[in-house]
């Protein structure tokens, strides 16, 4: 039975505000039942192009979906959001057709709403906690976030930040999600921020990793342009640890604080025979060739991808989904994903898995490669796998996959892509004396402030936690920004939405 008393306390203030759209009290019974479907490219069409799969809500669709939010007095969704976005607040603003306010509420806690609306695993964060989801399907929070961000980008001039220079300088290493979030908060508070990016393009994993059809690069560029409008300088082609070291940044270049958000992009292999055969890629190599270097437009762009007709991808996270779907779009005839556990344990976003299935990817669950086979010229000719079964739960509560002897079989493939996660890149640690790292090479930080073992040097994102999500990196970047401001003796800036809320 559904406990309606849960909402009773919510109703009075809501009705009292005389919402112009609501003549009756909203309850689980009055709202539209099903989620508003996301318009998408048809699977057979999109499998041949790199255009965005999900097309985004129209205004009527967004309004219908926003109407499904009960605006709970004690919302559970906010607690599920790693950066604590005021979810009922922004959805209510959409329902009231105050898109500027919806966007401002989002930006208050999330510097990249257009990105997160597209790539966050909402189903395991905010949406899984949505109270509507108890009786019906949860509100499509992510799709609404994307709508509000896209709408704002299309219709409004970007916020004119009122920045008072604070007389401090900060260096941010890496222009991925952690660096962007940290830079945005510091810049707002008046800090003179320079981002140093190793690659020739800003955006980090948002550019080199996540493919165009899931996150158009123009979206990332817009966000970066906003950052530059806030006065943030971006230095491309600058490998910190090589061109300048962190001590040099602080002692010679005059930076008062440094944030390390370099990510953990150091590929992992399995250590099975045949991994150095021609045709074996790390997901990073495959994706950087396709995305960063625009290999999907070869020969117009010079970088080749070198993919065969039959492709196998090892792993079942978002990166694995990106690889299988890129391979398909690059013209692979058959793409197989192998994972040693089951679909249920796949760490990918539900939507990516669903899309990959629709597009015709072959899934081999409970399957683990034992050897990559090669022909006489040293090219991959197949991948020998063994079937697995889930055994007893281990200390972490996960059921460990166990090999089933005698079940070996060969998948004929020409290309094998490893999407098994990444390790810590050693460049920063090696070049920064006194910077403490753990046994895996990740940087150790104070959880509250994000400060490392070196005073004034902060870190966050994958280089601290190991491979995680965009939103967790954003959260870490923001936490570190707060820590840095305190270290610099400054206060965090108020966003327009926060200022308005107080007034």
């Amino acid at each position: 039975m559904f406990d309606f008393s849960l909402y009773a306390s919510r109703l009075t203030p809501y009705v009292a505000k005389k919402d112009r759209f609501m003549t009756t009290v909203k309850t689980i019974h009055t709202i539209p039942k099903g989620r508003t479907p996301m318009p998408e490219q048809e699977p057979e069409v999109r499998a041949t192009n790199f255009e965005e799969v999900a097309l985004g809500y129209t205004l009527p669709e967004a309004l219908r979906e926003a109407d499904r939010c009960l605006e709970c007095k004690k919302p559970r969704c906010i607690a599920g959001c790693p950066v604590g976005i005021d979810i009922p607040g922004f959805i209510r603003a959409i329902a009231q057709q105050d898109m500027r306010r919806a966007y401002e509420i989002l930006r208050q806690d999330n510097p990249l709403p257009a990105v997160c609306g597209r790539v966050c695993p909402q189903e395991s964060q905010c949406e899984v906690r949505c109270i509507v989801g108890i009786k019906a399907e949860p509100v499509c929070i992510g799709r609404l976030e994307r709508f509000a961000a896209d709408y704002a980008m299309a219709h409004f001039e970007p916020e004119k930040p009122r920045i008072t220079p604070a007389g401090k300088r900060a260096a941010i290493i890496g222009s991925g999600p952690a660096g962007i979030a940290c830079a945005a908060d510091l810049a707002r508070a008046g800090v003179d921020v320079t981002i140093f990016e190793a690659l020739h393009m800003a955006g980090g994993v948002l550019k080199y990793g996540i493919p165009e059809f899931r996150l158009p690069k123009s979206i990332v560029d817009r966000e970066i342009a906003l950052l530059e409008q806030m006065g943030v300088t971006i230095e491309l082609n600058t490998v910190i640890g090589k061109l300048f070291t962190i001590p040099q940044l602080m002692q010679e270049k005059g930076f008062d604080a440094v944030f390390v958000g370099t990510g953990a992009g150091f590929p992992k292999f399995q250590g099975i025979p045949g991994e150095n055969l021609n045709g074996v890629f790390s997901a990073n190599e495959f994706l950087t060739r396709v995305n960063l270097m625009r290999g999907f437009r070869h020969p117009e762009y010079d970088t080749p991808v070198g993919m065969g007709r039959q492709v196998a991808v090892i792993g079942a996270g978002n990166t694995a989904m990106d690889c299988v779907r890129c391979a398909l779009r690059m013209g692979a005839e058959k793409v197989t994903l192998v994972y040693r556990r089951t679909q249920k344990e796949s760490p990918a976003r539900a939507e990516e898995l669903h899309h990959a299935m629709q597009e015709g990817i072959q899934f081999q669950w409970l399957t683990n490669p034992v050897r990559i086979l090669g022909n006489a010229e040293g090219w991959v000719s197949g991948m020998e796998c063994i079937r697995m079964a889930l055994g007893e739960a281990d200390a972490s509560g996960r059921r460990a996959p166990v090999e089933q002897p005698g079940t070996n079989f060969v998948i004929p493939v020409e290309t094998v892509i490893y999407a098994l996660g990444t390790r810590a890149n050693p460049i920063i640690a090696k070049s920064t004396p006194g910077l403490k790292t753990n046994q895996w090479g990740y940087i150790e930080v104070d959880e509250q402030t994000g400060m490392t073992s070196l005073p004034g040097v902060f870190a966050g994102g994958d280089i601290v936690t190991g491979s995680a999500t965009v939103i967790l990196a954003l959260g870490a970047g923001r936490r570190a920004a707060t820590g840095m401001l305190r270290y610099l003796g400054l206060r965090p800036a108020e966003t327009p939405a926060a200022a308005a809320a107080k007034a």
Binding site: A198, L199, H200, Y208, I234, E235, L236, N237, V239, K242, L243, F244, G265, F266, P267, F269, E275, N276, N278, G279, F281, S282, N284, E285, T288, R289, L292, M293, R294, H298, P299, E300, Y301, D302, T303, P304, G306, E377, G378, N425, P426, I427
Partner: protein, 288 residues
């Protein structure tokens, strides 16, 4: 945003070999012997790893010697002094560990002559006795003879066809020098993979440490892609962050030579397309 890096000087050593001196003061200041760079000339370009051939901190320049073997390197050869390239990223990799050696033999083969030079200079500056061997296919391709002579206690030149210096390969000269100079403490060999492998095979019986520089296929050059992976002493190494210098006696050259052929087909296709384009546009083919 960067407006690019200017080629302040270009020298052509042969129909396919050329040198760029590029204005990049920060890179010049940080560069050490053994480092490499990632270079991309334009928006559509590839990122190409090139080993540092020289650096001049006072002038704020870094030099690279390039061989026009594929589409990109041909296109690069068509650039002139004063032109700019989009990206010039570095210095990357671990610098060579150079210490005073009583005697060191430095071997450069073809294009590899260039990246050996900064090591030769550093060994000389460290007070080592330096013996150099530089080898080319034929006399017309010889470059940097004077530069090498200035830093070497002994300089040997070899050409495959005998048109200049010793007739034969640098590895044969190395064999003779190792026999004559039993007090050699280290060999540095840089050049095409078969040449480095041959030098390692020659020096192995002498038990002399032999360092090679591996310029394997890379995308980012900073440890991200793993394209440059190579087996050294049975272990997986990345040439970009663990190297590019490695103990040559430990390197699995057979595997590396095979891996270097991974994009041969695409490279040939790109080159053909480029040549066809040049013909259609009536441009002079670069390098001719």
């Amino acid at each position: 945003m960067s407006t690019g890096y200017r080629i302040v000087k270009k020298e052509v050593y042969s129909p396919v070999t050329y040198m760029w001196e590029v204005e990049a003061p920060d890179v010049a200041r940080a560069a050490q012997p053994g480092h490499f760079l990632m270079v991309r000339i334009n928006e559509e370009g590839e990122r190409i790893p090139l080993t540092v051939a020289d650096f001049d901190r006072r002038r704020g320049t870094v030099s690279v010697v390039i061989q026009a073997v594929g589409k990109s390197t041909r296109e690069m050869m068509a650039l002139a002094e004063g032109d700019s390239i989009l990206d010039f990223i570095g210095p990357l990799g671990e610098a060579s560990h150079i210490q005073r050696r009583s005697k060191v033999i430095l071997v450069g083969g073809g294009l590899g002559v260039a990246p050996v030079y900064p090591q030769l200079r550093a060994y000389k500056e460290a007070g080592s006795s330096t013996l150099s061997i530089i080898g080319f296919r034929t006399k017309d391709l010889v470059f940097w003879e004077a530069k090498f002579r200035a830093q070497s206690d002994e300089l040997h030149i070899a050409t495959d066809d005998g048109s200049y210096g010793h007739k034969g390969f640098v590895s044969q000269v190395l064999q003779e020098l190792l026999e004559a100079h039993r007090d050699t403490e280290e060999v540095v060999a840089i050049g095409p993979l078969p040449m480095m492998k041959a030098c390692c095979d020659v020096s192995r019986p002498f038990g002399v440490r032999t360092m090679v520089s591996l310029n394997s296929i890379m995308v980012d050059g900073t440890g991200m892609c793993g394209s440059c992976r190579v087996t050294v002493g049975g272990k997986l190494k990345f040439a970009c962050v663990d190297g590019p210098d490695f103990d040559g006696h430990q390197v699995d050259f057979e595997e590396l030579m095979r891996r270097q052929r991974r994009f041969q087909r695409e490279e040939q296709e790109s080159l053909q397309r480029y040549e066809e384009e040049c013909r259609l546009l009536g441009r002079t083919r670069s390098g001719s």
